[in-house]
């Protein structure tokens, strides 16, 4: 399940949703807002999303993870709107029989989400300026 939310993400509540007794591994990733990016002091972040397509692409990534790795369940939640330093921007949880597949799938999901899902991040800096983060990534056809 891939979800977008404009509410604070509660990792403890999300972890509590995983309780498959056949699974010996739960790997989670928590992406937090840090106070520095490329040596500029960040005050807060703003996420904009193309909602319907973001949900479709996020769901496809989780389906790919289910096919590619021996896992039982994968979940990803991504924030929209304004976040302060330390806030949880994205959370991924993967439950599997064994730790190898859980680690690999968790890494796959967060990497693919960052590369493919139409979500944009605007950094607001302490000096009052702000900028959309447009790192050189895959463009069309990739």
């Amino acid at each position: 399940m891939f979800q977008l939310t404009n509410q604070p993400i509660d990792p403890a509540a999300l972890e509590a949703m995983f309780h498959n007794e056949a699974c010996g591994a739960l790997v989670t990733f928590e992406g937090r807002v840090r106070n520095l990016n490329e040596e500029r002091a960040v005050e807060r972040l703003e996420y904009e999303v193309f909602g319907p397509l973001a949900e479709k692409e996020g769901t496809r990534i989780l389906e790919e993870a289910m096919r590619k790795f021996a896992i039982a369940r994968a979940l990803c939640i991504h924030r929209t709107g304004l976040l302060e330093i330390g806030g949880v921007a994205v959370w991924v949880g993967v439950e599997a029989g064994h730790r190898g597949a859980a680690f690999d799938a968790c890494r796959f999901v967060i990497d693919e989400v960052k590369a493919r899902v139409p979500i944009w991040k605007k950094e607001h800096y302490l000096d009052g300026r702000s900028e959309w983060v447009e790192t050189l990534g895959p463009g069309r056809g990739n």
Partner: protein, 84 residues
């Protein structure tokens, strides 16, 4: 052969939305593909992002820049994404 102009619905996000100054608009265009449409919009609004760094969605799904546009299509140009 001349094509009849198409009416498309455009959606803008992030840096392109700010550059354009709005989120949505309708446009009558002679462009036959998203590639032509992006070139037209870039010329008119001074988009700084080269087409190579932009993706396109048509009617809510990723599409090719070379895909023919149809009347009434909803087109969104997608600047480099930065989730996480």
């Amino acid at each position: 052969m001349n094509r009849a102009p198409l009416k498309v619905r455009l959606q803008y996000f992030a840096s392109l939305r700010e550059r354009r100054g709005l989120s949505r608009e309708e446009l009558v265009t002679a462009a036959a593909t998203p590639a032509g449409l992006y070139a037209e919009l870039s010329g008119r609004h001074g988009f700084m992002l080269p087409a190579e760094r932009v993706r396109v969605a048509v009617n809510g799904e990723f599409a090719e820049f070379s895909q023919p546009l149809k009347d009434g299509d909803e087109v969104a140009f997608i600047p480099p994404v930065a989730g996480g």
